[in-house]
């Protein structure tokens, strides 16, 4: 423990020591309220550093590998520019979703050149966080740092203090967006620190689809931390996809924190495929009769560590939550699922169902799963189920009895297990992108798209 603490302190103090020289370059220096937020983040991070397994919410995830490296931000718009040449245009095109408004964040900075925002209707505002902090600071004030506080944990604290840019999205009342909005996060260089903060405000009775994509044009290690705060107005519908396909050596922290007003519907699809060590938090606060549907698929191989945390706060009556997370772990990979559902005393008639299913493909693979229900109301319908195991022998036999050999039957069932989550994607181009990522991660011979 003492060694761990030592590394922690050393790593933390190096970041903290560099902060004063970095701070003037960070957006929103002239805004006292933002300075306060950054300061709160910095002091929390100085005190506790990155989260440690001693914290209950980090029990199964040791981030000390991050602390052994020192990542540096790509500072300023100008110094970030040269990296853009390193990006192959056809590779970029493959990452951008067709028929979507796509906003690029390269190494933690907005890139206008790489963004596609033509034909944005009047009822939608999309701009970089840096620009929004200049143009609409008073407007942002009640949102930024309100869905999640720096005290949440070390990564949120770090993100609050260090964020260099991000995206601000505002969908105005009654807007039904014809196209999805994509936030395309790209890392292009070794040891870069990409720290971004997004604020998404979808007003009453709107319909929005948001996709956050994390990819790399490098095979090296880097640290990407991205925090998205979402505010869904009354009767708003937001479908939020996250495709995390970071490089094999990358470290990733991504947090989505949602506030749902009454009757708001939030659907999340979380695809956690990349990174050496990746952690994803999805928290949502449900207002009266609001609904959330959280879906997740994490696929780990080699020595990957993929951690998924969800927290569903039923604050008011008649809320409905559905959750299905699936994991497939091969080789020495380790998967974590911690799902918490909290039903407040006032949240009567809550209807909540949480499921986590895991497949282990190797003897060295591991999954730690911890569903938690905390119920303070007395008239609710809540359930949860967890499985960790191998493929169903009945299904294997069924396929064998239909002429399929055992190995192919196993591959088919594994792929089918994962594909069930992919199939929930409503956008064809995204579906194909995600499917492609899934296929890359199933190197077993004979896995075929034709099975679908």
């Amino acid at each position: 423990m003492s060694t761990l603490k030592g590394i922690n302190n050393e790593s933390t103090s190096r970041y903290v020591a560099e902060y004063p020289s970095l701070a003037p370059e960070l957006p929103g220096q002239n805004l006292p309220w933002l300075q306060q937020l950054r300061k709160a983040g910095l002091s929390k991070f100085s005190a506790t550093g990155f989260p440690s397994p001693r914290e209950e919410e980090w029990r199964y995830t040791n981030v000390s590998a991050i602390e052994k490296k020192l990542f540096a931000p790509a500072l300023g718009f100008v110094s970030a520019q040269p990296n853009l040449q390193a990006i192959d245009p056809s590779w970029l095109k493959a990452q951008q979703l067709e028929d979507a408004w796509s906003v690029a964040l390269v190494n933690g900075h907005f890139s206008a050149e790489m963004s596609v925002l033509d034909g944005l209707p009047d009822g939608v505002k999309i701009m970089s966080m840096a620009a929004a902090l200049m143009a609409l600071p008073d407007w942002l004030h009640p949102y930024l740092g309100q869905a999640v506080q720096p005290g949440e944990h070390g990564f949120v604290a770090f993100n609050s203090a260090w964020f260099t840019d991000g995206v601000f999205i505002h969908v105005l009342t009654n807007q039904v967006l014809a196209k999805p909005i994509q936030i395309l996060n790209i890392a292009t260089q070794a040891d870069v620190l990409a720290t971004t903060r997004n604020v998404v405000v979808v007003d009453c009775s709107t319909e929005t689809t948001l996709i956050e994509t994390f990819v790399a044009a490098t095979d090296d290690a880097y640290l990407s931390t991205s925090v998205t705060e979402v505010f869904a107005g009354e009767n708003a519908t937001l479908t939020h996809y996250k495709l995390q396909a970071e490089s094999d050596k990358a470290f990733h922290f991504g947090g989505t924190y949602v506030k749902q007003a009454q009757h708001a519907r939030f659907t999340h699809h979380n695809f956690a495929f990349g990174g050496l060590l990746a952690r994803c938090d999805v928290h949502t606060d449900l207002g009266q009769a609001s609904e959330c549907d959280l879906n997740g698929l994490y696929l780990g191989a080699k020595r990957q560590h993929l951690d998924n945390h969800t927290r569903i706060n039923h604050l008011k009556p008649h809320g409905i939550s559905r959750e299905m997370y699936k994991g497939v772990m091969d080789d020495r990979a380790r998967g974590v699922f911690q799902g918490r559902v909290i039903v407040a005393e006032d949240a009567q008639k809550t209807d909540s169902q949480m499921n986590n299913r895991n497949l282990l493909l190797s003897n060295d693979a591991e999954v730690d799963t911890k569903p938690q229900l905390e119920i303070y109301a007395d008239d609710v319908k809540c359930g949860h189920g967890v499985t960790v195991g191998q493929l169903d022998e009945k299904s294997i036999f069924y396929l064998q009895s239909r002429c399929v050999d055992e190995e192919t039957a196993r591959n088919m069932l594994t792929f089918a297990f994962a594909n069930e989550m992919v199939d929930k994607i409503k956008i064809k181009t995204l579906h194909d992108q995600v499917l492609e990522q899934v296929l890359i991660r199933f190197p077993q011979e004979g896995i075929q798209k034709a099975w679908l």
Binding site: D392, E393, K394, S395, F397, Y398, L399, Q400, S401, R402, C403, V404, D405, E406, M412, L413, F415, A416, F417, A418, N419, E420, D423, A450, W451, L452
Partner: protein, 253 residues
């Protein structure tokens, strides 16, 4: 086609089948009836090669080949088809894909080229109509969200397309309403042919009103205690299983 001699099967240490003798020739339909726990389903599983069953004595020979160590998929490719009592849902794998994969596996096994995509589709659509199924089922995941009756129809659809030589129907009538039962029976009857045999495992006589067997065997306590023609099923219906449960096995000729 199928010759079972003195077959003893155990699950773990528990003997389930205790000396089954049965000969099934091409073109014949055999019904195997029996009370719950008599070993009916075990027999169907052992014939199709499900693991977890140990043959402690006796033999099963299919078309001159010993089945004891033959993996289930090879049996299937050789023409043995088990229509499951509880067809398994396979989310994520489409019905039509499985049909095509199975058909091609059989063709490959017999040294034939893969089926032409258009011919396959024509064949499948024809059979789907025959079984009064909706074409949409083809593009859904195997059995996923199907009703009990739809699952059973799907089994018969697979059978109609794969054209097996030995069809084993395990409690195909269970969970079917009378209309679905008629459709399934018509499907089976349309597959009757001089070079194909059926073994129907059933608890009730009902199915046999629609699919007329040539032979009826009664299984109790892991042995065939009575064999006869279709009239045996009616007698059984009248007198109940207690009539045969006390009977001793007939000495094999």
């Amino acid at each position: 086609m199928l010759l079972i001699e003195n077959l003893h099967v155990s699950v773990g240490d528990k003997p389930i089948l205790k000396g089954i003798n049965l000969q099934v020739n091409a073109g014949e339909i055999h019904a195997i009836m029996g009370p719950n726990g008599s070993g009916k389903s075990t027999l169907s599983h052992v014939l199709s090669g499900k693991s977890g069953y140990e043959i402690t004595q006796g033999s099963i020979v299919y078309q001159g080949k010993d089945l004891t160590d033959m993996p289930p998929e090879i049996r299937a490719r050789e023409g043995i088809f088990l229509a499951f009592q509880y067809p398994v849902e396979i989310p994520g794998v489409s019905n039509i894909y499985l049909l095509k994969a199975a058909l091609n596996a059989i063709r490959k096994h017999h040294g034939q080229p893969e089926v032409d995509a258009m011919d396959f589709l024509t064949l499948v659509k024809h059979k789907v109509k025959l079984l009064e199924m909706d074409e949409k089922f083809l593009y859904r995941a195997v059995n996923e969200g199907f009703s009990g009756g739809e699952k059973k129809r799907n089994e018969i659809l697979q059978m109609a397309i794969l054209e097996p030589k030995l069809c084993i129907l395990d409690e195909t009538d269970s969970g079917l309403d009378i209309d679905a039962l008629k459709v399934v029976a018509d499907g089976v009857n349309s597959l009757r042919s001089p070079d194909r045999a059926f073994v129907m495992i059933t608890h009730y006589q009902r199915l046999l009103d629609y699919i007329k067997p040539d032979f009826v065997h009664v299984l109790a306590h892991g042995q065939i205690v009575k064999s006869g023609g279709p009239e045996l099923a009616l007698e059984l219906e009248e007198k109940g299983y207690s009539w045969v449960e006390t009977s001793q096995p007939e000495v094999a000729a």
